[in-house]
């Protein structure tokens, strides 16, 4: 029989998270700090609206780009929260999670060999999606000394005449880093000068703890070269509903919608009705969850300080990214031993790119009680490691 597989697909490395998950799932009584999704249930009024739409028999496809009502709400929301104006019928595509928007966007924009700049550590799918779209991923290794922000210099150094798209994953998974307005202005200047498009993955935009999130699309000259990606998973605790969106220039959104139409048809209808309710009446829920995450974030930063573990203060998402270089182990070794000896699962920073070496991703999408137990175990573990040395 012939080889049934595509070489390009086989060559793609499986996600580092997956690999570690297999080890964790063997361990029955492990405490996990490895989850990248909210611990809250979707607020009841949002679920209720989903149920209600089913009762009314709203079980058909929506238009390919998504419910008009939802696209209008998204435009109102973006205007209100990040001060960017989009045309609901021409510049918005509702997708199956932010992930689909990343995939569709790269497929719509890339010609073979064109380069995509991917700052790392970052979410695991930018690199494979670039490859599958025929592009060439070019990694920018972010530095702890810059609090894992992307600097204009790093961006300049990575640009070649083949560079087409910059992925901007902030607030960042796994580091919790954010880009403030002044940081974004520097980046925008380079993008305009070098004629580069930006794919801004703002899925954690509602979870910032210093100041409100700023979208690069809101800066002068940037809306026309930015695909803004967001969704409902993190802000409204709606991961399982699989709903996100992309907003951007009409010509790009039209091509994305074409691929989306052939590959997906439309995003889940029930989820779209629920999402309308989320945008209309969900502000208080978002605030409640943001406050809770912020309390846990402060708790973890305090715990690290007490145990003398180095960690820059992250102001976004729900992750902290402590440094474990002092123990002379790789992230993988540390995470594996921590799991075996203390039965706590954290994700090695390397799962998010080589520049995550020496760091761990710790999620605080857990209750304070759970975090407390886990921090006691972490302290016990690192005390042991320090004595070993």
């Amino acid at each position: 029989m012939r080889n049934p597989l595509a070489d390009e697909v086989v060559k793609i490395k499986p996600s580092g998270i997956r690999k570690f998950f297999d080890i964790v799932s063997e361990m029955k009584d492990a405490i996990s700090l490895g989850v990248g999704e909210p611990d809250f249930d979707t607020p009841w009024h949002i679920r209720d609206e989903g149920i209600y739409s089913l009762e009314k028999g709203k079980t058909f496809y929506t238009s390919n780009a998504g419910l008009k009502e939802l696209r209008e709400e998204i435009c109102r929301y973006l205007n209100r929260r990040v001060h960017v104006d989009y045309h609901p019928l021409k510049e918005v595509l509702i997708t199956v999670g932010g992930s689909e928007a990343i995939d569709m966007g790269l497929r719509a924009m890339l010609n073979p060999g064109e380069e995509v700049l991917i700052p790392q550590p970052s979410y695991v799918s930018y690199e494979p999606c670039t490859i599958l779209a025929g592009g060439k991923p070019v990694i920018i290794n972010l530095k702890a000394e810059n609090e894992f922000r992307l600097t204009a210099q790093e961006l300049r150094d990575a640009i070649t005449d083949k560079t087409k798209v910059l992925i901007l994953p902030f607030p960042n998974n796994p580091t919790g880093a954010i880009m403030e307005k002044k940081d974004l202005e520097e980046i925008a200047k380079v993008c305009i000068e070098k004629d580069i498009f930006v794919m801004s993955d703002e899925i954690y935009s509602e979870l910032t703890y210093k100041e409100d999130h700023v979208s690069i699309a809101s800066l002068p000259g940037m809306k026309e070269r930015t695909i803004l990606i967001n969704g409902f998973s993190k802000a409204y605790a709606m991961t399982g509903w699989r709903l996100g969106y992309a907003c951007g220039p009409q010509e790009i959104i039209a091509q994305m919608t074409k691929i989306h139409q052939f590959a997906i048809m439309c995003a889940p209808t029930t989820s779209q009705y629920a999402a309308v309710e989320a945008l209309r009446n969900g502000d208080d829920d978002v605030k409640m969850m943001r406050d809770a995450y912020n309390q846990r974030r402060r708790f973890l930063m305090h715990a690290f300080k007490e145990m003398g573990l180095e960690c820059f203060e992250p102001y976004g998402a729900f992750y902290v990214f402590p440094c474990i270089k002092e123990f002379g182990m790789t992230s993988d070794e540390f995470a594996t031993r921590f799991l075996q000896e203390e039965k706590v699962a954290v994700v090695p920073g390397t799962a998010f790119g080589d520049s995550g070496e020496g760091y761990l991703r710790i999620s605080y999408a857990y209750s304070l009680e759970q975090l407390k137990v886990a921090m006691e175990k972490l302290e016990h573990f690192i005390t042991k490691l320090r004595e070993e040395k």
Binding site: S15, I17, F20, F21, V24, S25, A30, S32, G34, V35, G36, E37, D39, Y123, V124, S125, N173, D291, Q295, R296, R298, F299, H302, A345, V347, L368
Partner: protein, 162 residues
């Protein structure tokens, strides 16, 4: 939200939280939190630190009831006097003046149906200003003080996700 409101939002859910921890998660100084708590106790903003108990899970028998009470208000005193006469009974849990078809809502806890009926017939109804009462026994508590009773939520998320 100011510091006071933030503290209240947390201790309303968890009154056992230590001052040190409260300070850490709110990003405040321990001494400021302690002072604020003390001030609120003195001002009567914080009236007590109670425990939410699901008595169904214990061997202690308890019966609770809601009683609607219609009363005649008194000149110069309104409902305050009669409310006081009712809330002084130790078996009375709460007394609210409410709008609608009756005046006072009284909640009550007793050891048995009999004990509660005796209270209503012998004490409550016997009060001069009380015109009528309607007693509703509570059959099951699903949710109390914002907490769903009886159910423990399991974490159904995968152990590691991107």
């Amino acid at each position: 939200m100011n510091a006071r409101e933030q503290i209240l939002a947390i201790i309303e859910r968890n009154s056992r939280i230590e001052i040190k921890e409260l300070a850490v998660i709110l990003g405040m100084e321990e001494i400021d939190v302690a002072n604020e708590l003390k001030a609120m106790e003195e001002e009567g903003v914080i009236c007590g630190y109670h425990t939410l108990i699901d008595w169904e899970k214990t061997s202690i028998e308890k019966v609770s009831a809601l009683i609607e009470v219609r009363v005649t208000p008194q000149r110069g005193m309104g409902f305050d006097n009669i409310a006081e006469r009712i809330y002084k009974y130790p078996e009375v849990n709460s007394v609210y003046l409410i709008s609608g078809g009756f005046d006072l809502l009284v909640t009550l806890e007793g050891k048995s149906l009999k004990e509660i009926s005796q209270f209503v017939s012998l004490k409550l109804s016997a009060l001069d200003s009380v015109l009528s009462t309607a007693t509703h026994f509570i059959l099951k508590k699903y949710k109390d003080h914002g907490t769903v009773l009886g159910k423990k939520n399991e974490d159904e998320r995968e152990l590691i996700t991107p």
